[in-house]
Each structure stands twice: as structure tokens, then as C-alpha cells.
Amino acid sequence: MNLFKDDFQFTKRQLGLLCVGLGMLAFVGLLGLDLVTGGDGGIGPAQRIGLGLTVALVVLGLSLIPLGDDKA
């Protein structure tokens, strides 16, 4: 896979893997943010929404993987 080829376009599988990766990274990042900033108040409502969205992104990504080489 050469991401920077002239004619490269994402497939649904590649997009799915990207979503899974970004979602997991964001999930860990949001939890890590709590540790870095002290996190006295626990997980706040906005943070909870953010975590929910990252989980949704991972689920979306997983559901795209079976679509294989369909163009995204």
C-alpha cells in the first residue's frame, strides 16, 4: 500500500482499520488526559461523551473491515 501514489484511494477495509486505530488512540488519549491534568473530578460528562464517540469510531471501523476492497 503506497498511500502517496497518484491513484491511491482508500478501500473500506483500510478506512475501517484507520478508524479502529484512531478510535483506540483517542480513547487512550482521553483517559491519559485525565491522568496528566490530575483527574480529581473523575471522568466528566464531556469526557464521557468523548469516550463514547471513540468507542463508536472503533465499532464503525470494525464493521467496515468485512467490506474489503470496496472503494471508500
Binding site: L3, Q9, F10, L67, A72
Partner: protein
């Protein structure tokens, strides 16, 4: 790719006798006609409101006058991003493009409200036209044999008008505010970028891409919120061709950054302070949630097809820029709507995306333009339905126009005492629920939902004239502090302060109010006009200590507090 049925519409028709699809088509067209009538009615209400507002010479929505100040400053070759800690304590938190575009009007007509409002109103018509264009184009692109041009046009028209019919668009459409022209630049940018990617000729494609990115920059330099649409465009380009996204995205960032840097240097850093520091505001989850609920309540019926279309594209077709746009701006604007000073206007862009998607779903259904990739999901979910495809399509051709009609029912807004709307209100039992002879679907209840939309009266104009007359009684060499700029313009006086900017920067610790407070303590202002008292706390305190209220004048439903210097300041 395969059609839902795998057969032409004519073949499906003959398979199912005469003919479930024809019945659906006829009924659907009739229902579309009903939806069109409703949307045209809201267009008439909107035009009447715009005509009423454009003639009004004072602020209707607080802050309009300061947009006019920005225009006048640009027309005189000055930046409005000035030192707010020294007299006249004026600054602006918005980018310049909207104001710059109005400069020729300022040269020709001086400080007037009508041209800023007219420009915004025309922007809304252009945006509605762009929505209709997208829907029409998608309709023609996927049209099969039985598609008709006029049905495609009808659906495109209904989708464009549905955007204008939204009470949120209605509120802000004809205001002297830059938000709605940002939405216009946003959708035009996406339309151009989509077109660009369809062009094979490299040179021509590059010119279209350049135009698309120029429109994105125009949107961003109209209002910062357009950043979310820029994100959409870059995601879309990245999915379609990462190399192109990186190259053009880098160029976009460099040009946008260079303009930003130039403005920062050209204003001695005040551009940075006022457009960045002043826009880092408190966030209220309750406000965000309340406005999100309003968005859902008002647009629920159109959100259904929009959501279905996104699922369809994700699992059965290629993902369009409009689906990405919907997801990005609905999520990010919903969050941004929770910041202090934000309001329902933040949903103008998500509503545009909703109307585009709902329109595309409808036009594809009527034109027989659904295609499904052969994959694991289509084999499990779509293939079993192929035998009943004519029935499904017929049902959808009836259901989709009904959704537009239900949307029209959910967004009822109109004056209840202005002819001919009063007759319509009487016939349908629609009552004033705002206290301003106006029916609004929200009733002005939700916090941060704009309490505007009602028509202005002669009494409102007379009230504004009365405030100006009081200002005129103050000697010309004595300054007057007015929370709204319109009165100062009408009285031919210098506009002093932009209160909200001072308050936000004061709360951010970026405004030292000493000089302004000293002027108030010395009672240097001959008169003070307040409305919402959106000044820093210590400025409000100095006003209270040194100025006493003599009367309140009601205009547009708001009390304007008139204050004069006290004989003896309070302790």
C-alpha cells in the same frame, strides 16, 4: 454495483401488475406538491420578515451595530482589531471578509443597516440554491429511465426551501451578522471540490480545486466556525486521494496561516487577542444539550432520511462529502454551541447538510437511483428484499414527501397579527406563544435559542428614535456610552466600546478596564444606554455607582435603560 431490483423500473412494473410503483410515484408527487406548498409558505413568511427587518434602522439582534462599525472602519482603511484598553475601547472578535465585502456599500451609502441585512438575506438564497443544485445534480446523475426532469427539480426545490424554512435559518437569515454568509461559502466550497474531483483534465481540476480552497478560506475568514467544514473537505480529499489532500491541505494551511500572520502583524497583535483569546469561552453542557434538543425536535423528520443515507453510503456505496459534512458539523457544531455567546445559529450548517442528504435520498428514490455494492451486508440485508423492491420503493416514494410535510408541521413559525398571516393563523388555530405576536415552534423557551423572528412595529422604530433624541440632547463634545452602536450612528456620535468583546477579554484576564472605569468615575459620559449589560463586572459596577436610571424604553421587546450622571455617586 447492482440496482436494488436488478431490473429496470418498467420490468418491475410489469412484474407487479399495474402497478404499485406507479401508484407510489403518483401519490409521492402529489405529496411532494403539498410539501412544496408548505415550504413556499415559509418562504413567504421569511421574505416578509426580511423586508420588515431590512427597513429597521437600529439593532434587532444585539451586536448587529458592531458589525456595521467594523464595516465603517474597514471602509476608512482601519482595522477594527484595535487597542481595547484605550478610548474608544473598541475591538472585534470576528474575521474580516463579511465586513470587507460590504465596504463598497459603506462608501456609497454610509453607515446603514439595510445593506448588511440584504447581503445576508441574499446569502441565504444562494445557499438554498446550492442545496437545490446538489440535490438536482445527484438526481440527474443517478436517474434511470422513468426519472422526470420536473420531479427532480421539484425535489431539489423542496430541499433548498426546507433549509430556508428552518426557524433557525429564519432567525438569523436577514441579520447584519456574518454567520449566514459563512454557511454560503461553506456549501459553495464543497460543491466546487466535489466537482473538481470529477474532472479528468489535470489543469482544469487544479483550477477547480484552487477555487474550492479559496472558498474554504473565504468561509474561515468570514467566521472561525467554518474550520469544521474545512476539516470535512480535507477528510473527503484524504479518503479519495491522500496525496492530493496533503499537498492541497498544506497549501491551504500556508495561505490561511499567512493571512492570519499578516493580520496579527498588521494589528500589533490585537487580531490574535480578539479572534483567538476572546473566542476561548466558557462551555456549558446544559446549553449545548438544550440547543441540540431543539435541533433534533425541529428537524427530526429530515434527520431520519439523512441518517439512513449515511448508513447506506458507509456500507453500500462510496462515502460522499455531504455525509462526512453532516457528521462532522453536527458533532462539532453541537459541541461549539455550548460555548458562551453561541446560539442556535450554530446549527445553520448542520441543517444545510441535513437538507442536502434528505433531498438526495428523496430524489434517488423517485429517480430509481439506488445502487448497492455486492458485499456481506448487502447479501444479508438487501438481497432478501429484492423481490419486494417495487413495494419498498413505492412506500418510500410516499413516506419521504410525508417526512417533509411532517417537518413543515414541526417548524410552524409566523406572525399572528400581520396580514395575511393572521388569517392563516386563525384558520389553523396558531396562536402567539412568544408574547410578540409571533408563533415560534420553541416559543423562545430554550436558553441561548435566539428570541427573534417577530416582526418590528412602528412603535419599535419610534422607541429607537426616542433614544436617539435623548442622545441628541447631550452636547456634541460630551461622549455617550451606548451598549448598542445603532443609536450612536443615528445620532452621529462616536461608537464607544464593544461591550461583549470587553467582557469576554476581561473574563480571560486580557482586558484592563482601568481607563474606562476612570472615565465612568469621572462621569465623562453624558448619558449611558444599556440593554443586556454585557460589560465587565467592574465596568457595570462603575456605571451603577456613577449613573442613575431615569427611564426604560422598550424596543423589539427589550428594555433599554437610560442613565444619566448622578448628582452624588453611590458610595
Amino acid at each position: 454495483m447492482a440496482e436494488l431490483t436488478g431490473k429496470s423500473s418498467q420490468e418491475q412494473a410489469s412484474d407487479s401488475g399495474i402497478n404499485i410503483e406507479t401508484i407510489g410515484l403518483m401519490a409521492g408527487r402529489a405529496l411532494l406538491g403539498v410539501a412544496l406548498v408548505m415550504m413556499v409558505f415559509y418562504l413567504v413568511v421569511y421574505v416578509a420578515f426580511a423586508a420588515n427587518l431590512i427597513q429597521f434602522p437600529y439593532d434587532y439582534d444585539q451586536g448587529e451595530g458592531f458589525e456595521l462599525v467594523d464595516v465603517m472602519m474597514f471602509s476608512e482603511g482601519e482595522f477594527p482589531y484595535a487597542d481595547i484598553e484605550t478610548y474608544p475601547f473598541y475591538g472585534s472578535i470576528y474575521p474580516p471578509l463579511y465586513h470587507v465585502l460590504l465596504v463598497p456599500f459603506a462608501w456609497a451609502f454610509g453607515p446603514e443597516y439595510w445593506y448588511g441585512r440584504l447581503f445576508s438575506f441574499v446569502s441565504t438564497l444562494v445557499t438554498a440554491g446550492a442545496i437545490a443544485y446538489v440535490v438536482h445534480r445527484e438526481g440527474r446523475r443517478y436517474a434511470t429511465g422513468n426519472a422526470t426532469r420536473w420531479t427532480t427539480r421539484l425535489i431539489a426545490g423542496v430541499a433548498g426551501l426546507a433549509w430556508l424554512a428552518s426557524p433557525i435559518v429564519y432567525h438569523i437569515g436577514p441579520l447584519f451578522r456574518q454567520h449566514i454568509s459563512m454557511v454560503m461559502f461553506e456549501i459553495l466550497a464543497l460543491v466546487v471540490l466535489v466537482r473538481a474531483l470529477e474532472i479528468d483534465d489535470t489543469g482544469k481540476r487544479r483550477r477547480w480545486l484552487l477555487l474550492g480552497f479559496a472558498l474554504l478560506i473565504a468561509a474561515g475568514y468570514t467566521k472561525q466556525l467554518a474550520a469544521f467544514t474545512a476539516i470535512t473537505a480535507l477528510i473527503y480529499l484524504f479518503i479519495r486521494n491522500p496525496r492530493r489532500a496533503v499537498v492541497w491541505g498544506t497549501g491551504f494551511a500556508l495561505v490561511g496561516g499567512a493571512i492570519f500572520l499578516g493580520l496579527t502583524i498588521g494589528t500589533d497583535g490585537h487580531w490574535w487577542t480578539q479572534t483567538i483569546t476572546a473566542n476561548v469561552k466558557d462551555f456549558s453542557l446544559d446549553q449545548a444539550r438544550g440547543l441540540f434538543d431543539v435541533f433534533i425536535d425541529l428537524h427530526f423528520w429530515l434527520l431520519i432520511p439523512a441518517g439512513v443515507f449515511i448508513l447506506y453510503e458507509v456500507y453500500f456505496d462510496r462515502i460522499s462529502v455531504y455525509s462526512i459534512w453532516f457528521v462532522a458539523v453536527t458533532g462539532l457544531n453541537a459541541y461549539a454551541a455550548g460555548t458562551w455567546g453561541a446560539g442556535d445559529s450554530y446549527y445553520a450548517t448542520p441543517i444545510a447538510a441535513t437538507c442536502v442528504l434528505a433531498g438526495i435520498v428523496t430524489v434517488r428514490t423517485f429517480n430509481g437511483g439506488w445502487r448497492f455494492n455486492q458485499n456481506v451486508y448487502s447479501r444479508a440485508l438487501v438481497d432478501p428484499l429484492r423481490r419486494v423492491a417495487p413495494l419498498v420503493r413505492a412506500a418510500a416514494m410516499i413516506a419521504l414527501p410525508v417526512l417533509f410535510i411532517l417537518y413543515g408541521r414541526a417548524i410552524v413559525h409566523m406572525p399572528t397579527n400581520v396580514a395575511p398571516f393572521d388569517t392563516v393563523a386563525d384558520v389553523f388555530g396558531i396562536e402567539d406563544n412568544t408574547g410578540y405576536n409571533f408563533h415560534d415552534p420553541n416559543g423562545y423557551v430554550t436558553y441561548a435559542y435566539a428570541q427573534i423572528g417577530h416582526f418590528l412595529t412602528d412603535a419599535d422604530r419610534a422607541a429607537g428614535d426616542e433614544i436617539v433624541a435623548l442622545m441628541n440632547d447631550i452636547p456634541a463634545d460630551v461622549p455617550v456610552l451606548s451598549e448598542e452602536a445603532g443609536f450612536s450612528f443615528a445620532a452621529g456620535r462616536e461608537v464607544i466600546t464593544n461591550p461583549v468583546v470587553l467582557m469576554i477579554l476581561w473574563e480571560a484576564g486580557a482586558f484592563d478596564s482601568t481607563e474606562l472605569v476612570n472615565m465612568l468615575n469621572a462621569q465623562e459620559f453624558g448619558m449611558v444606554v444599556l440593554r443586556a449589560q454585557f460589560y465587565p463586572q467592574d465596568v457595570n459596577r462603575a456605571i451603577t455607582v456613577n449613573y442613575e436610571e431615569t427611564q426604560r424604553i422598550r424596543m423589539n421587546g427589550f428594555d433599554y435603560i437610560i442613565k444619566y450622571p448622578r448628582a452624588e455617586p453611590l458610595e
